[in-house]
Symmetry: C2
Subunit: 724 residues, 2 copies
């Protein structure tokens, strides 16, 4: 069992009212159908120890508590106001909260931003009143909140147990679903829940910080339909995941980004895949199926992390071991051969026909002595090649299926597993096909925090999340971003000129920016007068050259006849120059043609694409992929939030499906991955240094066994950010 | 609700003993730990109406039934023998079964083929005795069988309900897992279960045929670790799926095919992906996660099929509608806009703020009247653009969450849904977050066979299986395979020569086989004497030509310098001829060089690969994929069992991820898909006509907007099949 995670320093202002000692209920009621009644019942039934102040001008007492006609009439201090009255009453009430010094208000009413028109205005009034009075707002249009350790259950949910899962959900039904699932399996509990509603004031990043600091929360779990300030969320998540697991389910996985994009990167950015990449970059455990939210949160909450992804499977036979192996492999987990010493120890306790390699199949050895499974788990946990132990089969059901007198052995086995869990850092995870029956041995494991799953698939998702988190944590030291790049005055001036002219950078300008900051860019010459071509030919040597038109008005150079390849010698350059000028003038007689760019042809190699966009939600984002069909057809790309660390850059390259091509196929040598990592770090640094850069496309970059060549570079300027 | 599926004609011999009227239990016992005791208790407790004959030489009575010292001593006829005694007793017992005229025996003992050595011999003795005595064998090494409608429960499983799911499982634990899951959800039942064990005699295909014919089984469900005779299984499955759904979970999805393969097709064949493709080709519903077996079987058992994949989602708000949309889209299902008439009808019954497009969000309209959800479902079911209706949300939980007096409305809603299900052909599927609580309205739906799932993901898998099955059934009429190809005497002779010489076909031979049977192959000339090159140059015209060495000893022609491209005119041909001869003789001085092949260079187009292997389990299999990285890196290929239908051929092309390339990218025109379909049908026909053909690789075929070109053809001969 792992040490309790350290809490973050208490920086969030939400503690003041998410763990309140006194609550005013505006719109409290004796009518059992009203929310103002249910909230009071919830508080009273759950045994809230603090003060409850019902506000209702028409009542003296509500449910045994003295009622007040208004917030002002309460003679004591109040931590939190629950506002159950209609939308139009809310701005005035928030003003009163401010006067009364109430730090936080939960606004249930709908009829704000989500209905448009007047609702938008009303929501702004609420926010203005909140800012003026220094009141923080949950909602409006929220399902409410609970803090079960404080016995504050404003949703009046029955049968929900206090526990270690903190949950923030944009869907109240999703909370309900998890609560019912937890009630049903009987062993999962929650700490704090908040429905962020319209997120007028408090957003996901604030709630996440709160959960990160909240000591009863061992895992922060979020159901997100959309982020408001994704970039800030990533920053908070990075801090929180260093201390405790964060689980996110992001809905809208098949949402189609329908915007017209000016680049490949632009077309692929903003996708669900990008969001997942960015969340994983900061250590978030992203869950893809809603069924897996609770099982993954449960496993991470109990066990925090595994050192890695190497799993020992202990099974009592049957198809489940095969299924487990399939699912583990699909999830990227490993089932390594156990060490010779481990195998020898297993041989000592198991029948000769047992398989002790991994998965371990006890082959009947435990039929008369199920406690032996715990011994096998202990032996496997002692293997240095193993990061977690997964028991698969019918433990807990021996006494049901075989003979009642096996119950004693099962209970001894459960106790031994509990002891083992206390003394090993390695997570123990149990799948039992008897889990739905809740037999005594499994109930015992649950009581002591050893997770038992009724689904192999869910158990594997939990193991994968534990392993991914461990690997993320181990890499944190190496997570420092590359050395910062200092902006260059000449480059600033170049951006300024382009911005003044209302244009993007010319290719040669983009390349000079890259070259200035250490990117390997081939020499090039800008020629406006064909008389210079002799000198250029001499300077470039006898390499084959390429010539491209330079004009802000010609975006599709090839279509305009503005590109000539494979040129050698002055004569060829002169002829190409004339042809380009003729073609391009014919293509667009009004084009402002500044000349041509001459540069050596790139050798053949593997085409990759590197791109940058400034995403409206997540800020600057770096994209990496293989060129051609990999980007265009398969959308096989990786995204990271800028700035990226060396580790991030490496993981981008390893993430794409086409990585095998980079590793060398058909006997070809692998490309120089470290050179690509350097290139990604430099691009990240450049983007951080130049806010004037809006989008960047290096397409293609040709990767070689030794280095790379940036063949084309396009940089779109941010017209609204002036250069200094 | 759909009509009960027709039963197949009763052809299976398994009926005689899988629905027995009299059972002998060899090794019956009064010792409660013995299987021979448990089986008797199971029969007695479940109320088996037939005769039970315990066989035990040491007892007169067992559990109230008269015991006999041996099978021969029973004075009556016996349908089935359950053999609980050790392995070495079995051959003798099977002989006795034969003498007694017992048609079937269930052999529980292990210690046969699976332990190797003596066990293999013993198993052969069992099989010999069975064949000699006309006894059919279940097992050995089986977990047993049950037929719950016949009250035959030889596994003595408690709490398993009779129902419509037939199950054959190579893992007894998987049966146990499904039974516990069914017990837990309380509404799923089983018809017949058999553990095939070592499949010495009866294999999966026999069991599947039996389940196909068995009238209580509405869905045949199989857990398969490996097929013995896959080709026969496919044939039986094709027959059965035409009448009732067949669900297969195949374990070993990540198994690595480690064989050394002589072709791309060979390297990719035998994979899990191939098995899935072939099963789907014959209408099997393949389930990928073991958790999904029971939900999918339940849905298919109750509703058989949907006309298609167009789903109306009715939701009472919250994130679940979004999750459902994500999962539906990911599963390839559609959520089309509802018709104007449907939208108008929904508007009439719902609040103005409801969304009636699809997903339908009732937006509070049903809060006080949950029965309205049934009306919405009925309206949606009436839409001709809709194939199935999916209710998503908290139905069943209104009375729990909001107010108890909503129970009446929920019950009325449930009755209305039940009525609707009886009168519409379109499946109704319900997801409720209250399903785990089993509230009365949901229990009512279960009772009347409307499926209610506690998981959106599982509900979606069931909807997908229903839609896929409906589309398969609709396409059955078009499933006729292409016209058969008659073998050609000259081609037979060509195969004979190659086989006599112990070699595969030369490229020009392979191409002539294709050409003979109507495949579009470019003209070519085989030249052994350079003097002929003048005539060849004249005949081929002024197209650029390619020249390739012809030698059975040179497999890698390019490496040997045996290929010259882009040749024009006699002089170029002569020079190329000399260079090829020189290079190839240097490469392998002992090579038997027959000359060169001259053929026009193919125009540029899209490279595809078509391959054939004769799989040891599944027989002849056709493969289709895009060339290059799609095959080599992404393994993006489709497989079908030969012979293929036109529909099969089309679906292969549509299945691969790279299909977008065939449909035309970057403004290029689409390739001529119908020409590729014809090519696939012709290859299928050729493979059926020539058993001498062992493997085939057309790699590449270049696909054009008009037709295709077979650039290289390789045919490996089957040395063991002599030509006639």
């Amino acid at each position: 069992m792992q040490a309790t995670p350290q809490s973050l320093e208490r920086k969030s202002p939400l503690h003041d009212f998410l763990a309140p000692n006194s609550i005013a209920i505006v719109g409290a009621s004796s009518d059992p159908t009203k929310r103002g009644y249910k909230a009071m019942v919830g508080l009273i039934k759950d045994g809230f120890k603090g003060a409850i102040y019902p506000i209702n001008p028409k009542a003296d007492m509500i449910l045994g508590a003295r009622a007040y006609p208004s917030l002002e009439a309460i003679p004591y201090g109040v931590d939190l106001a629950l506002i159950c009255t209609p939308a139009n009453t809310v701005p005035g009430l928030i003003e009163l909260c401010g006067k009364k010094g109430i730090k936080g208000a939960v606004i249930l009413a709908s009829g704000f931003k989500e209905i448009g028109g007047e609702g938008v205005k009303l929501e702004q009034q609420v926010l203005d009143a909140a800012r003026a009075g220094n009141v923080r707002i949950i909602g409006p249009n929220t399902s409410g909140m609970f803090n079960l350790h404080q016995k504050v259950n404003l949703l009046a949910l029955a049968n929900v147990k206090p526990g270690n899962i903190g949950f923030i959900s944009q869907s109240g039904n999703m909370l309900l679903s998890l609560v019912l699932e937890a009630e049903h399996n009987g062993h999962v509990g929650f700490s704090t829940y908040v429905g962020p509603g319209n997120q007028t004031d408090i957003g996901f990043n604030d709630y996440l910080r709160y959960l990160g600091e909240e000591p009863n929360t061992k895992v922060a779990t979020l159901y997100v339909e959309g982020f408001r300030d994704g970039q800030r969320f990533l920053n908070v998540a990075r801090e929180v995941t260093a201390r405790k697991p964060v689980v996110v389910y992001k809905s809208g996985s098949t949402e189609q980004g329908k915007k017209a994009a000016s680049s490949h990167t632009g077309a692929l950015a903003g996708s669900y895949g990008m969001t997942v990449d960015l969340l994983r970059q900061v250590g978030v455990s992203v869950v893809q199926d809603s069924d897996e939210i609770l099982p993954v949160a449960e496993g991470l909450g109990l066990m925090q992390f595994a050192r890695g992804k190497r799993i020992a499977v202990i099974s009592d036979g049957g198809g489940q071991a095969t299924i487990a192996s399939d699912r583990l492999s699909e999830a990227g987990l490993e089932i390594p051969e156990l060490s010779a010493a481990t195998q020898a120890k297993l041989r000592e306790v198991l029948f000769p026909q047992a398989s002790v390699v991994n998965p371990v199949d006890v082959a009947g050895s435990t039929d008369a002595n199920p406690a032996l499974l715990a011994d096998c788990m202990a032996i496997a946990a002692g293997d240095p090649n193993i990061d977690a132990v997964f028991l698969v089969g019918m433990f807990g059901g021996y006494s049901i299926r075989f003979a009642e007198d096996l119950l004693g052995g099962e209970m001894r086995g459960a106790e031994a597993m509990i002891e083992l869990a206390k003394h090993t850092e390695k997570p123990l995870v149990v799948y039992s096909l008897y889990a739905p029956v809740k037999p005594p041995a499994l109930r015992r494991l649950h009581e002591e925090g050893v997770p038992v799953y009724p689904s192999i698939e869910h158990a594997v998702r939990a193991l994968a999340a534990l392993g991914e988190r461990g690997i993320y944590l181990a890499g944190l030291d190496a997570q420092a971003t590359g050395p910062a790049i200092e902006e260059d005055a000449e480059m600033q001036a170049m951006f300024g000129r382009a911005q003044n002219e209302g244009r993007d950078l010319f290719e040669y300008e983009a390349k000079s920016l890259l070259r200035t900051h250490g990117v390997d860019v081939a020499p090039e010459a800008i020629v406006s007068n064909p008389a210079e071509l002799g000198e250029v030919a001499a300077r470039m040597g006898d390499r084959p050259l390429v010539m491209k038109v330079v004009s802000k008005d010609i975006l599709h150079k090839s279509d305009a006849g503005g590109v000539k390849l494979n040129l050698q010698g002055e004569a060829a350059l002169r002829e190409a120059f004339d042809q380009i000028m003729t073609s391009c003038r014919a293509y667009d007689p009004n084009a402002d043609i500044r000349g041509v760019l001459v540069t050596p042809m790139a050798r053949k190699g593997t085409e990759i694409i590197i791109g940058v966009v400034r995403d409206p939600i997540f800020g600057p984002v770096l994209m990496f992929g293989l060129g051609g069909i990999f980007v265009e057809i398969l959308e096989d790309v990786a995204f990271r939030s800028i700035p990226v660390s060396r580790e991030d850059a490496r993981s981008m390259i390893d993430q794409i499906k086409g990585r095998k091509i980079l590793e060398g196929v058909r006997g070809e040598p692998p490309v120089d991955k470290e050179a690509l990592v350097d290139l990604l770090l430099k691009v990240s640094g450049i983007v951080s240094a130049y806010p004037q850069l809006s989008e960047l496309d290096l397409n293609p970059v040709i990767a070689y066994p030794d280095g790379y060549a940036v063949v084309d570079a396009r940089i779109i300027t941010n017209r609204s950010v002036a250069s200094n």
